[in-house]
């Protein structure tokens, strides 16, 4: 993130942003925060804030958040913090989704197109049939075995 406001230590990478009465802006580096992650966070925030994106430089995305209703600066800071946390969350989700993509595709393909699905069902039915032929392990007498029903 790039400092766009007045900070006592501008060279220190930190979570700082420009602030006016009801809006703030900060710049995200697409190398760290892919556009899809920024979009994901925006999607969750469009009902809570006015969101506008701009591109001040290559691979940089400026996010401007503006409160929808009058609120204290604290609300604005909290909103920005939540937004940036959500961007990180979206980055993590994206990385997990990418790293598990192959196994998910494998399971989906096997579930829908695997040849052994039918065989598995047949095996289960055969197992149930075999169980029905076994003696009752509890050895409870039933009338049809003793001939008492006659």
């Amino acid at each position: 993130m790039t400092d766009t406001g007045s900070s006592p230590e501008p060279d220190v990478a930190s979570f700082t942003y420009a602030l006016d009465d009801r809006s703030l802006g900060f710049v995200l580096d697409e190398e760290l925060y892919p556009l899809e992650a920024i979009y994901g966070a925006c999607y969750l925030f469009v009902d809570r804030a006015w969101v506008f994106l701009d591109r001040p430089a290559d691979r940089r995305v400026q996010v401007r958040l503006r409160l929808k209703s009058d609120g204290a600066d604290q609300d604005l800071h909290a909103l920005a913090g939540e937004f940036c946390n959500e961007v990180l969350n979206q980055v993590l989700r994206s990385k997990i989704s990418e790293s598990t993509k192959t196994i998910r595709e494998y399971y989906m393909a096997r579930a829908f197109f695997g040849d052994d699905t039918r065989a598995s069902i047949d095996a289960l039915l055969a197992e149930l049939d075999a169980e029905e032929l076994d003696d009752d392990p509890l050895e409870i007498e039933v009338p049809w075995d003793t001939g008492a029903a006659t």
Binding site: Y39, C42, L53, R55
Partner: protein, 75 residues
């Protein structure tokens, strides 16, 4: 007032969709440039003249929402 939307963030179709949604509340004139889509906003409905800022913000949100939809559909 002229709004500019960077094409890498807001596909022109997303901006057009926002213009379609808000077209009854103001006049919107779209111009496509190399890296951005410019929208000149004017003739805001007198009923909404006191809320011009909110109207513009809502227009921006709508364009962003459409951009996100387009991006997700493409991926």
């Amino acid at each position: 007032m002229i709004l500019t939307f960077h094409r890498s963030l807001y596909p022109p179709a997303a901006v057009r969709s926002a213009i379609e949604a808000y077209g009854e509340l103001a006049s919107f004139e779209l111009t496509e440039r190399d890296h951005e889509t410019a929208v000149a906003v004017g003739d805001i409905d007198p009923d909404y003249a006191d809320f011009a800022d909110e109207l513009i913000d809502a227009f921006n949100n709508h364009a962003l929402f459409e951009a996100i939809k387009t991006s997700r559909a493409a991926s």
